[in-house]
């Protein structure tokens, strides 16, 4: 049976490039970069080289990169820092979007309990936001705009350069959670006026458990983890050197091959979108134009996502869904609700996320099995029967 991994937005397989870059640092160059002796200094050189590589991919200086345990930690530190700095100046208003990752949303909810006010920009129009919405929401007391670069569930790519320009003009700090974008889209933090950016290694064939925060020089940071003086005193703990080197190698590899990967992956994405759109009473989620190269997200009316995923898995396709049953909570994905999908159809969502490791043959396989499984589940769904009998109105 063909096995298709189409859940690359959740995590990716590590590349051989990344694995090869990591292995020397387990038992050959195993020193602590903080040690003065030669073994430690060798490790320090590798750490510096990795930092330079990451900085080059983002268009910033190496000293503006702080290595973290991943995207969530970077998001937490960026937001808490901007909030603490804002509070000192009596600025306690933050602007974000309604479809952020929970690493951002839950951090903001914590700040709300501490007295901050948060504006959640509406994303129902075009499944995206505009820079004008950001501009209109900025107030005298706004200390931070934090929007994701690209949405993890529905693939919308936000107008980051335009938002950056708006924030620069207004003098407001701009942070972007770019976990889904780094390694997949061209990013230049200086040209795009990004003040802070979070990224995660395992979304572009690097290792898990490592990420980075870019912070524009001069912006103050508060520590999330206290301890030693690593990362210029802004992130304590002995550096995870193998992971950092693996991530840097994966990032360089992704940036070196970005154009060819983007066009190849986007071509497969477009075939999937075109093919799955033929399933009656379905709808594409996310911005159809400004979209991650690998993201395909649909809602199918009359069925539930978890059963869809289980059956697809049995047919060799690994995918994900925003249905409540896949999360263990009652509500379907806040992203799907935020773009205006009602509960009834939000439960029937499917996300396929591709990488350059996928093939056209795999796309063929997906295009064969998804319509079969959707039809099979609809055939046993009382909701679908009611829709067909005219006892219930189609939403999609």
């Amino acid at each position: 049976m063909m096995h298709v991994y189409a859940d690359n937005a959740a995590t990716t397989a590590m590349s051989q490039v990344a694995i090869d870059a990591m292995t020397p640092y387990f038992n050959k160059i195993y020193g602590n970069p903080s040690s003065l002796h030669s073994v430690g200094q060798e490790a320090k050189e590798a750490l510096d080289a990795a930092r330079a590589t990451v900085a080059a991919c983002l268009g910033c200086e190496p000293r503006e990169i702080i290595f973290t345990s991943g995207g969530s930690e970077a998001d937490n530190q960026a937001i808490l820092s901007a909030a603490a700095y804002g509070k000192k100046k009596n600025k306690t208003h933050i602007i974000t979007t309604a479809f952020e990752h929970h690493a951002v949303l839950h951090t903001l909810q914590k700040l709300e309990k501490e007295g901050f006010t948060v504006t959640y920009l509406d994303v129902s129009k075009g499944h995206n936001i505009t820079a004008q919405q950001v501009k209109d929401a900025i107030r005298e007391d706004t200390c931070l705009v934090t929007t994701m670069y690209a949405n993890n569930e529905i693939g919308s790519v936000l107008p980051i350069s335009e938002i950056g320009a708006v924030c620069k003009e207004a003098g407001v700090t701009f942070h972007t959670d770019a976990v889904q974008a780094v390694g997949h889209l061209r990013i230049h933090v200086k040209e795009q006026n990004i003040d802070m950016l979070s990224l995660s290694g395992h979304k572009f064939h690097g290792p898990k458990g490592v990420g980075a925060l870019y912070v524009r020089r001069g912006l103050p940071l508060v520590n999330v983890i206290e301890g030693g003086a690593q990362e210029r005193g802004k992130r304590a703990g002995t550096e995870n050197l193998p992971a950092i080197c693996g991530m840097a190698a994966a990032m360089k590899d992704a940036c070196d091959h970005m154009d060819e990967n983007m066009s190849r992956v986007a071509a497969m994405r477009d075939r999937l979108i075109e093919g799955l759109s033929r399933i009656p009473h379905s709808a594409l989620n996310g911005d159809p134009v400004n979209r991650l190269p690998g993201n395909v997200s649909f809602c199918f009316e009359g069925i539930e996502g978890e059963s869809l995923l289980l059956l697809l898995d049995m047919k060799g396709v690994c995918a994900s869904s925003g249905s409540a049953c896949t999360s263990g909570s009652l509500d379907p994905s806040h992203v799907l609700l935020a773009i205006g999908r009602v509960h009834d159809v939000a439960h029937g969502s499917l996300r396929l996320s591709l990488s350059e490791y996928n093939t056209q043959e795999e796309v063929d396989h997906i295009l064969q099995v998804v319509p079969e499984v959707v039809a099979y589940l609809r055939n046993m769904s009382p909701v679908w029967r009611d829709l067909q009998d005219g006892k219930r109105e189609y939403i999609l």
Partner: protein, 142 residues
Amino acid sequence: MALYSEKVMDHFTHPRNVGIIENADGVGEVGNAKCGDIMKIYLKIDHEIISDVKFETFGCGSAIASSSMATEMIKGKSIHEAMQLTNKAVAEALDGLPAHKLHCSVLAEEAIKNALKDYYDRNGLPYNEKDFPDCAHCAHCE
């Protein structure tokens, strides 16, 4: 897949008694699309014996498996025996369900009771309202 027992996967991938019964003697539907699970049970009843049962389910793997198992457990049984079916018995027959999926077995029990109530109503048979809790009492949707 480790999420579910082999029994659950068997009933999910090869569900028994899927479909509808034209001219059923009792039909019950519980759940709602908002909470993500809807179960509909059709009963054919001859001389107080459930001679046939079919189901339709909109929901997750465990909801489909619970419907399948519950219909197997009441098929050929008397309506009085069917009234005794508990969600616990359904879950046990499936070799257990993950904690956050137990409500699926509750829905199966309630769908069957709902269909039996419909049968009693259609035939003007007396019953005790208390024996038919509706899905609203399930904490899952609160």
